[in-house]
Symmetry: C2
Subunit: 281 residues, 2 copies
């Protein structure tokens, strides 16, 4: 018997992976959560039928949504992470001894408990004493925050379903207020190769650009995400992602990474023409 | 009725595209050649069941295998292209008024005639008077060449089947001899994300590094190729791909490109750690 999980990347494109074992299939109050073992990618997490991560390439994603901010300001001590119940972003953050406090706001407690049980590769640091888990809606949480974090990471799912509110003007405005005067916000920015999210991402980039003095987009290869070409946003109140990169300081930390390095950090902000045109950059 | 073309990217990974019409299916002396219309990617070319190009993302590939060399030495006049019967690389080269002579060596005449008939997007410049078509084996052709070309582009298929000889030490050595003293060689370098080609690409990079004073690898997003993360080789007798980039000269040419730009040129040489480790860079 062969089992295959197939994801629809666009109405005319499907991506399939061979499944060696179904580990868990669960319906939470917010979404369906499935964990499978696959032949090529190791263990994978699927929510509402969309692939969230695979063990093989999640380090690329989690390193790029974390270190690009930390290497610009390695003195960051207080961080807010929204979404990210799988723990991958937390794992990368806890590698910095200088970070003192991480608030993790995840709306769905079941994501956390299932990842702790079945995805230790990402969830391994969720019990770090610096991590403060808040099971609530990130959209509501940031409304009450002011001048509190030097780094906010919006590690959202897609711009529909439970993550929908994490793509609105009100939410990004509240993130701006929650940041200190030297604050940085990093957000997952989807892809623009397939038309499905292209307009939405253009709108998101315009919204963030209206709010933040510096708003740039950078890219990564995430082979198991639609098109394999994934975008992230870097927004800040002052730091420039390349001019203010502290490459020597970051390299002195000697963090071993699978994907990220400080040369690649600079290169990631050089976008193809078609992406620049779509985002009106 | 729904028709889907499915390509196997690894034993546990499949990529499928919805087909709106089968255009041609032909068996040449060397390989099977199929052209299909698809819902997402426009017209696509498939050889021996492997996807060669789609109209939607072929510009990314052909721009990256052409302009990265031309922007380092915009004074290039004589070029050899091996493989590339679809014409995409030729189309990009013919945009340079300074190029006087292009030898196109393609082993399979049927690729040329079918692409001319059914893939005008790539084949549109194959009749440019500067293009000299030679239907023969590229491996044999370069044996007779010495000090003749400033640029050689090895636009090969995969390291098995008709393109196999284009990945050998003898072939690259003959390319070295066929180049002038300021010569540059660009070659398609496959991907290393899936294990299938990883060892082969490590070997190829070592071979080219042994022969050329400068041998570097750069990357691109090609969404319809396995993993979407594609590599190219830049080898030269003297020019450095970044230090010698003539960005102002290239930009003054005002070539409109879908993917390539001179910032991205620099960024493309910053590789992820896992790729550097695999290639022993």
């Amino acid at each position: 018997m062969e089992l295959w999980f197939t994801e629809t990347h666009s109405p005319g494109v499907r991506f399939s992976m061979k499944v060696t074992r179904e580990i868990v299939r669960h319906q939470s109050d917010y979404q369906s959560i499935c964990i499978l073992d696959t032949e090529e990618f190791g263990r994978v997490l699927i929510m509402d039928d969309y692939l969230m991560l695979t063990e093989k390439d999640e380090p690329f994603y989690h390193e790029m949504i974390t270190h690009v901010g930390m290497a610009v300001n390695p003195a960051i001590t207080d961080v807010l992470v929204i979404g990210a119940g799988d723990g991958g972003t937390i794992r990368e953050l806890t590698r910095y001894p200088g970070i003192r406090h991480i608030d993790l706001v995840e709306i769905d407690e079941d994501v956390i408990s299932l990842c702790k049980a079945y995805l230790p590769q990402t969830a391994c640091k969720l019990d770090d004493p610096r991590v403060h888990l808040r099971v609530e809606d990130g959209v509501k949480f940031v409304r009450q925050c002011e001048n509190r974090y030097q780094l906010i990471i919006v590690d959202s799912t897609d711009p529909f379903g439970p993550g929908e509110g994490l793509f609105t003007r009100e939410f990004y405005g509240n993130c701006f207020n929650a940041l200190t005067a030297d604050g940085i916000m990093l957000n997952q920015h989807e892809s623009t190769f397939y038309d499905e999210y292209s307009d939405e991402m253009t709108r998101v980039h315009r919204t963030i650009s209206d709010l933040f003095p510096i708003a740039m987009v950078y890219q990564s290869h995430i082979p198991t995400y639609p098109s394999g070409h994934w975008l992230f946003g870097f927004a800040s109140k002052g730091f420039h992602p390349i001019d203010d990169l502290k490459a020597d300081t970051w390299n002195a930390l000697k963090l071993k990474t699978h994907y990220y390095n400080t040369d690649l950090h600079r290169g990631a902000f050089a976008l193809p023409n078609y992406v620049k045109e779509q985002l009106n950059i």
